[in-house]
Symmetry: D2
Subunit: 429 residues, 4 copies
Amino acid sequence: MSRILCMRAPRRLLSQPILATAIRNARRYASSAPQFDWEDPLASKTLLTEDELAISAMAESYCQEELAPRVLQAYRDENYDPQILREMGELGLLGATIKGWGCAGVSTVAGGLITRAVERVDSGYRSGMSVQSSLVMGGIHEFGSEELKDRYLPDMAKGKLLGAFGLTEPNHGSDPGSMEMTAREHPQKKGYYLLSGSKTWITNSPISDVLLVWAKLKETGKIRGFVVDRRDSPAGTLETPAIKNKNGLRASITGMIHLQDCPVPQENMFLEVEGLRGPFSCLNNARYGIALGTMGALEDCIARARTYALERKQFKGNPLAKYQLVQKKLADATTDAAYGTLAAIQVGRLKDEGKATPEMISMIKRQNCDRALQGARTLQEIFGGNAVSDEYGIGRHVANLYVTQTYEGQSDIHSLILGRAITGIQAFV
Amino acid sequence: MSRILCMRAPRRLLSQPILATAIRNARRYASSAPQFDWEDPLASKTLLTEDELAISAMAESYCQEELAPRVLQAYRDENYDPQILREMGELGLLGATIKGWGCAGVSTVAGGLITRAVERVDSGYRSGMSVQSSLVMGGIHEFGSEELKDRYLPDMAKGKLLGAFGLTEPNHGSDPGSMEMTAREHPQKKGYYLLSGSKTWITNSPISDVLLVWAKLKETGKIRGFVVDRRDSPAGTLETPAIKNKNGLRASITGMIHLQDCPVPQENMFLEVEGLRGPFSCLNNARYGIALGTMGALEDCIARARTYALERKQFKGNPLAKYQLVQKKLADATTDAAYGTLAAIQVGRLKDEGKATPEMISMIKRQNCDRALQGARTLQEIFGGNAVSDEYGIGRHVANLYVTQTYEGQSDIHSLILGRAITGIQAFV
Amino acid sequence: MSRILCMRAPRRLLSQPILATAIRNARRYASSAPQFDWEDPLASKTLLTEDELAISAMAESYCQEELAPRVLQAYRDENYDPQILREMGELGLLGATIKGWGCAGVSTVAGGLITRAVERVDSGYRSGMSVQSSLVMGGIHEFGSEELKDRYLPDMAKGKLLGAFGLTEPNHGSDPGSMEMTAREHPQKKGYYLLSGSKTWITNSPISDVLLVWAKLKETGKIRGFVVDRRDSPAGTLETPAIKNKNGLRASITGMIHLQDCPVPQENMFLEVEGLRGPFSCLNNARYGIALGTMGALEDCIARARTYALERKQFKGNPLAKYQLVQKKLADATTDAAYGTLAAIQVGRLKDEGKATPEMISMIKRQNCDRALQGARTLQEIFGGNAVSDEYGIGRHVANLYVTQTYEGQSDIHSLILGRAITGIQAFV
Amino acid sequence: MSRILCMRAPRRLLSQPILATAIRNARRYASSAPQFDWEDPLASKTLLTEDELAISAMAESYCQEELAPRVLQAYRDENYDPQILREMGELGLLGATIKGWGCAGVSTVAGGLITRAVERVDSGYRSGMSVQSSLVMGGIHEFGSEELKDRYLPDMAKGKLLGAFGLTEPNHGSDPGSMEMTAREHPQKKGYYLLSGSKTWITNSPISDVLLVWAKLKETGKIRGFVVDRRDSPAGTLETPAIKNKNGLRASITGMIHLQDCPVPQENMFLEVEGLRGPFSCLNNARYGIALGTMGALEDCIARARTYALERKQFKGNPLAKYQLVQKKLADATTDAAYGTLAAIQVGRLKDEGKATPEMISMIKRQNCDRALQGARTLQEIFGGNAVSDEYGIGRHVANLYVTQTYEGQSDIHSLILGRAITGIQAFV
């Protein structure tokens, strides 16, 4: 664990009793007699390092104390508080797997444990963080020049600069290779490109300072990545209107990116990468975070449904938890959470060892999103009509998890990616 | 078909070209060469009478022209316009299966076709109508004295008086037999009862004039039905606060009913019925409407998904409709809609012949709600990330249909009702 | 109902008490008070004519008395007794929907009720009958010359001549249009064709006398139908080896058809039909029988599982039927049987009115086979380990129903047929 | 890895080229560049030790070379060759996790890899081995006196003595606590008990020498374990008739155990254990083997379906593998196999560290059996009608996996075990 994360976390959190308990619980696992823990049925904690346990405990503590109390209202109002990213930055949670530039440099699994903690509260909050950490910081770190890294990463790590990632276009979702946004050499200003086109469903775009945008270079027809800095964009060349009235992820902010001959200096173009490899590599990192993140949302659904089932009584005063049909729903969801967590930890380890492939990420992204959504829906049934009240939180998770199933590769697209890897034949048609 | 419906419909609607087309299409079925119609795959129209076809066409026309344009905003604002019930009343759509008192006196199937037309737009609009028609007017018609019928039915049929149905209590959802609301004899005012207690999740309660409330008579401990007239209730004895921030059915209004020693005259108590038979009989009628109604919502999802799949192009310009995984989703949902419609028509016919049993209603209510919800969710996947925009309408149906699966008997409860009927053994525990 | 069936049935069956009861039960439905009947939950019997009820009762009686006692041993030994078709012929059950040539001339629904009765015992027995009735007799009746009809239909109706239907080839299952079997003009013998090629998975082929075989005419490349008469085929030109060691349908006999320059007179070729329309029309009739037939198998599974659940006691002597998880399985399967039956009756009526389309048949064939298989598998779980014993019969139905899902259009193929009908785009690739 | 396994394996196997390849492949994983391997999608091999890889390779080699060629005929004939257990004994595969008494003393995971190798060929073969290894040898090792261990374990490890495990009774499957078999003190012969009662569905019983039988001690009413030695049982006191005509596991032998005042010396009773803890502990070990074992069967189904899909061509010569609906089936099953394998490895590690609980075993036994069965059934659809031929092997796996889902705790029972662990409330009723 990086010094930064270590040093900062204690200052903020160690005096708080909840964290102390969390760490104590985490450590207890080394010595205790075997006992089934419905919150971690297959003892995935035994696979984590001390550092990872501590990071997870800190992140959970922050999320439960600071994020959980805000989410109900934020979701109702469809409002995202950019202050959240600054708070996360202060705790070292942003770009946490990057080494250097003020980032924590933790393991891939630790990074996933952070997303799980955030998504336990809300998938929208996790989305906001994933864009900042995996898509934009990750992209700049992987493909940007040293100068770009020095210019953007430190402030992004602190949450002082907010990022957005522009890949999806109105007419091109699952098939980004057909994108229409273009970059052409500036006819007057040497060393500059002019970017034009539209992106949509862009998390954080309305509040972003730094936009990593993918466009086709006119001269080559190849896709290239550009870092568009809002501060340097002349009026009228960059618009980022918000998309409102969403059915899910209402606690995150989403918008479009309209570029109209927006000038971008040549040094803001990624040099080392061309084609879809660039955006796909960024997505790969984000997808990992989603795979472990959605397990947090599912676990929260389990905890809420379990509590409800124990407290709600029907028919002669029996708690719902006594009914076989209810127990089966809990057993199914708990199993999926346990399995999905183990799979994500395994892929995280492989990633750090350079042994992970994109198909592995497709597999865990697809399966964990699918099962989280399915599990949340099944658990929702336990609440009966009461699930309609947003105060139970379950409906929010259900609506959010639908979105996680569709973004960064809709479930069926990942099925076909896997199918291609298994058979050697592509069937995207 | 009643004279009222016949006479009124033409005045309002016959000049409109859409209705003419609808009726022409409906009639065409008698003579045309066989051709697969994805909107009615098993030709359920051949099972309908001329009157039923005309009623259905009129209701569809009204709903598409008058309701559809309002629903997006209503759902966003969580707002229900009581004017809608007045419009429906003018068209003869309220309490339509009742004979007399200004009601249309149509067949059970025709009543279901009306709910289907309304729910094709929105399950919340259908809920508002079902409460008025099936639960309150139906209840008064079945169990009320002639005097009660004369006093309430004509104005309710016109939508001038709005009804609410108070059965579910905060602690008693699936098990209404344990209700806590009481009615006791008025200590001073002879011939009056005092009602006290709370009901929750009551559609229309905040805007209702006439509340059919079920309470336990103190002296017998038996459940009895009371018609509570808001105009006659002294200040402070009846409160109907709205429940806001719902996850679904946001285009209908829902609230609580708080009664605090609310005086109700003896003649407003249903005399002929005691115990759960009363409310269950009302629910039975409403459930029938839900069974056919949800098929409308599912059909709308199919139509929306089909259009989207034909218009949206990915990968070499192919429409999504060309993908096998998309076609299977459409085939599954279409089959469920076709089967569910036939089953509901059959039970409607049996009902009019006095051959329907409550278990039959349980079966079609459960199955049609389950399949509509499942189908809507599967079709939603076709929209990918775009489903998150409320303008596609699909997310609204998904959220609504979850609620229809839980109210008037949550799906699992109906499973156990059927299980009991099949095995002779009750397993509610 | 035809005179033949009417006259014959009584002679054989009316003295038998079981039939009397069956008819009495069938008639009772007209007058009795409404009561839920788990064997016919949505009262599909009310949709049947007196004739149809009587035919159904007779067929059920024969099947339960004569077929049921033989099936366990036949399935074990993988043996089919051709005598069964002769018995069915005597009762007028073969080619029953054909008018004339000694056939009963009953309604499509009545024909389906016969298949349901047979498949309630075993899908293999029903397969043997379907081939005779729908595929071969139906094909000759629809496309054959008057001479062919006169020559074959009367003896086939009596079960004296047995038929087989040769369409599927070793390399061409779902895609018969690519068939390799050829017919070429006899180089010496004028008015004769020589047929060569192989067919596989042909029900009844080893015991068949009359083989309706589809081959491509060399001169046109178009598919044509030929009636191959084993009695007229020189030694060595026609072989029909049995395929043994099947996983399902073991009580039916299956084989190949090898033709090696087998001479067939020109008049045995169907004149009126060319291309796939011929075999597809035959399949259409057979698929209808499967759609209603599989409901019989599913209903038998329900009855067996219900009995087992009531008799088997675990945990404090409670019957399994008391467990919620068991009741839900029963409720699900019962609902599917009820819905599937109604859909099949509706399509049968449309068929007789000339209003049915092949896509309707695809829909009910697909859905009813899928749900029957799914239901049988779920009900099998109620038997626990005991299902492994073949004496409970449930494992046999499960294995059989897998086959019904795959033949005459595998389920996914029908999904794509429906998808094409819904979207107008074919996705067979 | 034990010396015995090490020393013996090479002698037998190292000269064989297949093993060399297997070991080379296994080792390759340490160094190769990351590449998706559909046979091990989440690189579970990276979690195995060198020893475990070698044991797995040896077991796979034996099973593919020696067992695979026999299984088709064995399944057809419903015949189990006891020689197989002797071969396994020679290779050190029996009781492999036991340390001492000539057993290999390998890790729990290694033991599971052996069951996986065997079940890749056939679940029946794995069942025969599980009974010998986990249930009988495991039981004697855990609860027997040193004398009993010395007397039985060495010869059982060599496959010279065959074991059977008698717990399930005709009327008591999921609820063994209600067993009826009794043990009473011998009225004449001191130091002896007389056992009476019947057990059923006992794998290996007809060929067994050593029967571990659970019975209620008359004097206490408590369940105790007895080692019944067929050689010491007087004629007429022990009968073990085979159960024939099974729907699944036909390559294993199953029977009953009838005891009629069968005398058993006191020292053959387990002293240390009383009640259900004894048999449940044995089952726990066996269930672990099933959890990893069924993954082998599923993986074999994947491999067979993939090959078939690549070789079978339909519609314009496209292989089935090109169809989206086929690719999705492969992707789903592959994911389940990968996830299930990781979960089983994790629980194996916990078991060796003393951290596993019975609920963890319930979770992986339930989930892996459920998913293996579901996956096999879905993959079977790829074969269409050809799956009916037993030569494709897929139907055999489907039939076998149904049985694995029901034995050693039917799936629903494990759901309720998990439900109890999650909620603290039992719902067995």
